[in-house]
Symmetry: C2
Subunit: 438 residues, 2 copies
């Protein structure tokens, strides 16, 4: 079956993924002489940097998601199809999806990344990721379900495990999540659960490296660590999680933490697609040249988290997997595709680092912009401003702003709802892996 | 196992249900010499009158739900437990729940109502109800999934079925839902799906009786019918749905409507509980006397949708199953319970009808208050004001107001997201019922 899009006499650009890369590419191709066909398994764009606030009851999921059709309404020659892409065959310039196949003249792979459990099946089974809205909602439900359950159990050890939260990986997501849990502990849960001794709630942030926010400046890292400690977050640096069986975390330093909830933000892996996996390099990312062309092809491109470009002299290990890199690549690529069509030379990509930032609870953030280092309230305001700027849609900006303002005034987080209770994956009978295979 | 709440020397009032009745009762007992224990299967109160706006993409679910713990924070002697109540044994004054049993001195059943499919298993299997947030979200997902699917199918009949929506029952919920679907058809879907001929979308409102909004004045009914027609809603009065197999609706007048989506708002049934079902009367409602005492008991009460009081001379068939009746009963009952404790006489309940209202799309509503009949913009403003007043929490009021204001200005509805795709119940092999039983 073929995907039914109009057959017109213009080069067809197929875009896989409606993340930052995909939407910026399609937006930059508005009113250009190409047909753009976008696939995404969801009908919305997700603002991933704020997923942790959905998970911790600070924002509604609808505030950080934006319908793709709405984003592209009144775009001529743009077609959206909600579908999963299964594989690509570059030899016949064809993408195979759950709703049929489609040929392309230019293909842009903007599939982003997923949680990397580094092949540890036990950890994958028991930990929660936080890469999409259903996962964030699952985590929100689970946090609240745990406290409801803690209230019921007379077993003190079990209660402690229910009230302990372990966050693995102290990059921006891990730091921000741990900070938000700290806010819950300090300002929300004591009033919601007067019958529980919330002081017994422990938040652990475990990091394999020697510092939090390793990608930022030493100053930012130090400030963040300090802010986390003020929020009662226990920091375990130079520590790896070795196992988690759903009840107990064991670490490389011999520490044993009883906990029902482990949030895994220790790494991501590129969402490669069958058909171009010959180009998959470190972290599952697809190797591209300076024009974002996937190894071996001139009309297949990868941008954003899923690509690995080693030609940018300032980034010999590849670019950071952050929204600005995806956006900048998308914008240049849209021009390069038009250049190819018109026979003009393409321009190589150079990443312009606008800086990086992370927030650690109320009124605290760290910002690195070139040689400027901000922290405290000013950094927090800057963090809010930048995030509102990048958030799609005026209505969303407004609702998120009101939520933040409201939280700031009242120390409250509005949406502590268990709409769909989280059900743990069925626990298999514990047989050794070898037996399971045979 | 016993539900662990503090054992104090005060009469214990157990409240089942955190709807309008339950929360108003508990609020009225604030700082009174009783212990209040509330059970609800959800950790939030649902503002049911606006569920249809969640289903049609106008509001976030989080805006019309309010965490029960937040509602009752800083209440002394109030205890919430998220649990399902299984049965009651009035002889031993005990409630049995999914988390254990608990004894009571006074028991208030405020369990509300659920969708009444009138025993038609086929209709129950294929139709969607709209009585809680997960159901409203399912409907939202399904509406959008249908349009995504309509885009893909080359089969014209199937496409038509996917674009047809049948609403059964023209009470306030049915009328408001049909109106909101009309708004989607007129203002949203043509821009979202430029490739579909949205004129082929049909909305059918089927009503067994001779008029829409039968509980309101003739004038309101006429105005509503007119407004619905302007919104392209096909009205089928004096018509019953006889069957729906998931693809085709057949009616008592011989009309056959192809449709994938039938929304059932044709009736509700009281949520009785095992142990007091001897008192169940018409519509599954528990018969109570003028003090809301369930037949046969002096310390077991039922309020709101679930109760049937036949002693109020103006309401010989029982009170309307609406929020104001539940709220008024709750407030009087809280005083009556205290009167019983202090040996004072109880007061009989009389319903004070503040009027009724319904909205039919943008800028249109009908309001009956005593002998005043409003319609058009003024009625619509009144409708908004009253709903904002009853909505719990300032943050929710503000966010809902902004959403409405925004929709009004832009003709847009913000949240057209398929967060959790709706999966139809597995279709059983079609055997005659008799065979299934044997």
């Amino acid at each position: 079956m073929k995907v039914n899009v109009p057959d017109i006499n213009l080069p067809r650009v197929v875009v896989i993924g409606g993340g930052f890369g995909g939407i910026n590419l399609a937006q930059s191709l508005k009113d250009q002489p190409v047909q753009v066909v976008m696939f995404d398994k969801n009908n919305y764009h997700t603002f991933q940097p704020l997923l942790y606030q959905v998970a911790t009851g600070g924002l509604e999921p609808d505030s950080i998601a934006f319908p793709l059709r709405k984003l592209f309404k009144r775009y001529e020659n743009f077609h959206f199809r909600m579908a999963e892409v299964q594989r690509i065959d570059p030899e016949i310039r064809t993408v195979f999806t759950s709703i049929g196949s489609i040929t392309y003249d230019y293909l842009v792979i903007a599939t982003g990344s997923r949680t990397n459990f580094f092949g540890n099946a036990q950890i994958e089974r028991h930990c929660l990721g936080m890469k999409d809205i259903p996962e964030a909602l699952d985590l929100r439900s689970l946090i609240l379900q745990n406290f409801e359950a803690a209230l019921l159990t007379p077993d003190l050890e079990k209660r402690e495990a229910l009230m302990n939260f372990v966050v693995v990986g102290a990059g921006p997501t891990g730091v921000e999540t741990a900070g938000a849990l700290g806010e819950l502990k300090n300002h929300i849960l004591p009033a919601d659960y007067p019958e529980l001794d919330i002081r017994r709630m422990h938040i652990h942030l475990i990091e394999a490296g020697p510092a939090v926010l390793a990608s930022m400046s030493e100053e930012a890292s130090k400030n963040a660590a300090q802010a986390l400690k003020k929020l009662d977050v226990n920091l375990w640096l130079d520590t790896k999680v070795e196992s988690f069986d759903g009840e107990t975390v064991t670490t490389s330093t011999g520490k044993i933490l009883p906990s029902s909830t482990v949030i895994w933000s220790a790494g991501i892996i590129g969402n490669g697609i069958e058909g171009v996996l010959h180009a998959a390099g470190r972290g599952g990312r697809l190797r591209v040249n300076e024009y974002n062309q996937v190894e071996g092809y001139t009309n297949v491109f990868a941008i954003g988290d899923v690509c690995l470009m080693l030609t940018d002299e300032n980034y010999p290990q590849g670019h950071p997997q952050v929204a600005p890199a995806a956006i900048q690549q998308a914008r240049l690529l849209s021009r390069n595709i038009l250049s190819m069509i018109f026979g003009r030379p393409q321009k190589p990509f150079k990443y312009f680092d606008k800086g990086s930032m992370a927030t650690i609870g109320r009124n605290k953030a760290v910002v690195d912009v070139k040689n400027i280092r901000l922290s405290g309230s000013i950094a927090w305001l800057a963090w809010m401003l930048v995030h509102l700027m990048y958030l799609a849609g005026f209505r969303n900006k407004l609702v998120v702003f009101i939520n933040w303002f409201w939280s700031y005034l009242t120390y409250d987080k509005g949406t502590r709802l268990i709409i769909r209770p989280f059900k743990r994956k069925a626990v298999e009978t514990k047989k050794p892996e070898a037996e399971l295979v045979s």
